[in-house]
């Protein structure tokens, strides 16, 4: 991108950021709640796509990191009387360490093994945590009681989103981003041009684990009552993947294009046809695979390119 274009995108980004921050001023309780959900998924989907986008390694581990974040806050505050912000500081570090360990164990292997591993990860951690709870700590659910309102949490997530976008913007311009794109195109070639593929993948995956755990921690006060079945629900992983792929992982702002409509759709389905939410997710996956493999953004760019106009 030329310097002029870069400046333009930064200005756009700043404008949107300010607009997003103004939402609490105009939104009532119901819409504030939806905005909060959108903010949460925006951060999750964008950080997810920083890793899974260029490398094509579909990570289904989001729920695991998210759950770890939420659970640490819950158990820290409930069982050990820790302060909320202390736990928020600890959670992402634990998430990052977990991601790092998973990364070095599985990212040396092909993408399929990675996907399968992450598929069961949240479920496995959930059963483990449930077992620990049942046998050692006694309680089933944990209380997270703070003074924070939904608007407060929303602002924190918007700030976090801005940070993720900045990191993404920086990575895309850096050697690391270039390396990831090459890895996603052809990993053998990547190795033969001197890229340490394992290191590159692990770094980005660790970052995504860090962010997901941080989101889980920050949003814990919203639920007030943390329960393993809730925070470790594999649905979270699937929804994040759907949103990111629906929007398109080719651009930094692709995922949010998928987050907003799908979050609204989910709201609607849950309110009216809650029995069908799983079916809706299935249909969403199928639509993405067969009709929108590059997401909405990718499809639009394809159509524009065919018309002869240059894309930015």
């Amino acid at each position: 991108m030329s310097h002029e274009n870069e400046f333009k995108s930064l200005v756009w980004g700043a404008v949107l950021l300010v607009l997003a921050a103004c939402v609490p001023l105009v939104a009532n309780g119901y819409w504030m709640s939806i905005a909060l959900t959108i903010a949460m998924f925006t951060v999750l989907a964008t950080s997810w796509s920083l890793f899974s986008g260029p490398t094509h390694y579909i990570s289904l581990a989001t729920a695991a990191f998210f759950g770890v974040g939420g659970y640490l806050v819950g158990t820290g505050m409930s069982d050990y009387n820790m302060d909320f912000w202390t736990m928020v500081a600890i959670a992402p570090v634990v998430g990052a360490v977990l991601a790092f360990l998973i990364g070095i164990a599985t990212l040396r292997l092909s993408g399929v093994y990675f996907v399968i591993f992450t598929l069961g990860l949240a479920e496995m951690i959930r059963t483990l945590v449930s077992w620990i709870q049942n046998n050692f700590t006694g309680s089933r659910g944990l209380y997270v009681l703070t003074d924070l309102t939904e608007a407060d949490i929303y602002i924190y997530l918007v700030i976090l989103a801005a940070v993720v976008y900045l990191v993404g913007w920086w990575v895309n311009r850096s050697r690391l981003g270039f390396a990831l794109r090459i890895i996603g195109n052809d990993e053998t070639v990547a190795r033969h041009v001197g890229i340490n593929t394992a290191t590159s993948k692990v770094i980005l995956f660790t970052f995504s684990g860090f962010v997901a755990a941080l989101v889980g921690a920050l949003i814990a006060p919203r639920y007030t009552y943390i329960e393993p079945n809730g925070v470790f629900s594999p649905e979270i992983s699937f929804i994040v993947v759907i949103m990111a792929l629906l929007g398109g992982t080719g651009r930094l702002w692709g995922p949010i294009v998928g987050v907003i409509p799908f979050a609204l759709l989910q709201e609607y389905i849950n309110a009216n046809y809650s029995n069908y939410s799983t079916l809706v997710m299935g249909i969403a996956f199928l639509v993405i695979v067969y009709f929108l493999p590059k997401g909405v953004v990718g499809r639009i760019e394809q159509l524009l390119a065919r018309r002869g106009r240059s894309t930015w």
Partner: protein
């Protein structure tokens, strides 16, 4: 005394019960163009894979400029100065022509980036004959242009040793002559090259020396003229009692 760039000592590669490369030894000297020829299935590409680090040796060792590389990973070997093209062209479809070329110089021992890398990539693109095609989507390039691009990427790392795996395969006569001329010009710049080929014209006109492989073993070594006249070699290619 000309320096030895690559020394392969008793290299052996087994896949379960199959011995693809059998106790192979040879040396490649500075500025030399060494050809590896042999019938299909003789282990030539496997040998290239062993040198580039795509596969690891079962036995034996490989040394680059005096230091062992047989235990290193492909990316480490690239860092030490070996670059290659692949038998089935591997260009990066999601990247532009310039980026494909840049890929070779960003991560290796050159570590160029940004405007400087783009400039150097531009020069290489010209060098391999792709000028004017920088804006073409990589997937739409013709076969020979994709090969040129892959070569540009390999050259981008200023390799001490360039491995060309059947780079001249699948070209029509005009393209073939262009390709041979291109490789000859690389040789004149002083790059050390190992060439795996089937095209005999290329071998004769480009190679200083060659080795002939059959069923994983070396059956002949010498200048192209000597080797192609060797009755063992003829037998292996054409069959008994011609």
């Amino acid at each position: 005394m000309v320096a030895t760039v690559l020394s392969v000592a008793n290299a052996t590669k087994r896949f379960g019960g199959l011995v693809a490369v059998n106790n192979l030894s040879f040396e490649v000297h500075q500025n030399e163009v060494m050809g590896i020829i042999g019938p299909n299935g003789s282990g030539k590409t496997t040998m290239m894979n062993l040198i580039s680090g795509a596969l690891s040796v079962s036995e034996g060792s490989i040394g680059l400029n005096g230091r062992f590389i047989s235990t290193l990973t492909a990316s480490q070997i690239n860092q030490r100065g070996i670059a290659r093209t692949f038998q089935l062209v591997r260009v990066l479809p999601g990247l532009s022509v310039v980026e494909n070329c840049m890929a070779g110089m960003v991560f290796g021992h050159r570590r160029l980036w940004g405007d400087q890398a783009r400039y150097e990539a531009g020069k290489l693109i010209e060098r391999v004959g792709l000028s004017g095609k920088e804006a073409v989507p990589v997937g739409s390039l013709t076969y020979i242009d994709q090969k040129r691009l892959e070569l540009a990427r390999a050259l981008a790392s200023s390799p001490k040793l360039l491995l060309l795996d059947e780079w001249l395969a699948g070209l029509n006569p005009t393209e073939l002559q262009e390709g041979i001329d291109l490789i000859r010009s690389l040789r004149e710049e002083g790059i050390t090259i190992i060439l795996v080929e089937h095209v005999m014209d290329a071998i004769r006109s480009l190679c200083d020396r060659c080795i002939v492989m059959a069923a994983g073993s070396k059956i002949a070594e010498g200048s192209p003229g000597e080797v192609l006249a060797d009755p063992e070699v003829v037998k292996v290619y054409i069959g008994e009692d011609v």
